[in-house]
């Protein structure tokens, strides 16, 4: 029996590491990976919350898991578009350093 607080604390720590990655790193790909890490931490919290609830009949409640399923689908879509954007930026600037991305055109 693991207290649910442990899962929540772990989720918060992982989320914070993701935030730190976005704040510290300059490589656009690593920033992207940090965003994935944050999504993952949120998923972990959702599954943990979902696992402590039962219906009055004692059945498992699946809403948390299903929401995680949707989050995973959205993350896949986000990665497809985001990586396409990164490749496109690299083609025009020859770099994926986010400090270099300071102009709206070209």
């Amino acid at each position: 029996m693991v207290p649910i607080n442990y899962y929540i604390i772990l989720s918060a720590i992982l989320f914070t590491i993701g935030v730190l990655g976005v704040l510290i790193r300059r490589n656009a790909l690593i920033i992207f990976m940090s965003i994935e890490l944050m999504l993952n931490a949120a998923n972990l919290a959702m599954v943990a919350f979902g696992s402590i609830f039962k219906t009055p009949e004692g059945e498992q409640v699946f809403s948390g898991q299903i929401f995680v399923f949707f989050v995973i689908a959205v993350a896949a879509a986000e990665v497809a578009v985001g990586l396409a954007l990164i490749v496109e930026i690299f083609k025009s600037k020859r770099s994926i350093d986010v400090d270099q991305m300071n102009s709206m055109k070209g």
Partner: protein
């Protein structure tokens, strides 16, 4: 200490260590591989929480598809390591300070305000079996059918968007 708690502690150590490794490593390939390990650890957490379907989805979609896409792009661009040009010297300490504050606040608020009373229920033997998966499928396709279809449209839009972005533009004279 039950076996679950020991498992949880060891796995959470691995998860935090791999997340930090992702954050620290200079080489983007190592970051991606650390992140794969992190995703696999989280998948084991899902099994501990009695969510086998999500665990398998995590491994196939995240650790499989998404990270392979990442590795593919890293190798395609040859962007393993960037020259480190520190433009804002105060940025890193400030970020670490803000991140620490965020962690403390998130933990405090989640524990005090979300009121998650009680332990994680022992995922009984039934939780990781076939009838349970069937129940999940029933809920997904009965109560959540519309979001499911919207998700498929979202994936289609993302696919079209990626193709449009990557497409080589014809120069119009």
């Amino acid at each position: 200490m039950t076996i679950d708690l020991i498992l949880f502690l060891v796995l959470s150590l691995i998860a935090v260590a791999t997340a930090l490794g992702m954050l620290m490593s200079r080489n983007a390939i190592y970051s991606a591989l650390f992140l794969v390990l992190n995703f696999v650890t989280v998948a084991v957490f899902y099994l501990l929480l009695g969510a086998p379907f999500i665990a398998m989805t995590q491994i196939t979609v995240y650790a499989g598809a998404i990270m392979v896409l990442f590795l593919f792009v890293i190798m395609l661009l040859g962007a393993e390591s960037l020259p480190t040009a520190e433009v804002l010297p105060w940025q890193r300490p400030l970020a670490i300070l803000l991140g620490f504050i965020l962690a403390v606040e998130a933990v405090y608020l989640l524990i005090t305000r979300a009121r998650p009373a009680g332990d994680v229920l022992q995922p009984e033997a039934v939780a990781n079996t076939m009838p349970n998966l069937r129940e999940l499928g029933m809920v997904l396709f009965q109560n959540y059918l519309l979001p499911f279809e919207v998700t498929s449209i979202l994936l289609l839009v993302a696919m079209v968007g990626a193709i449009v972005l990557i497409r080589r533009e014809k120069r119009v004279p």
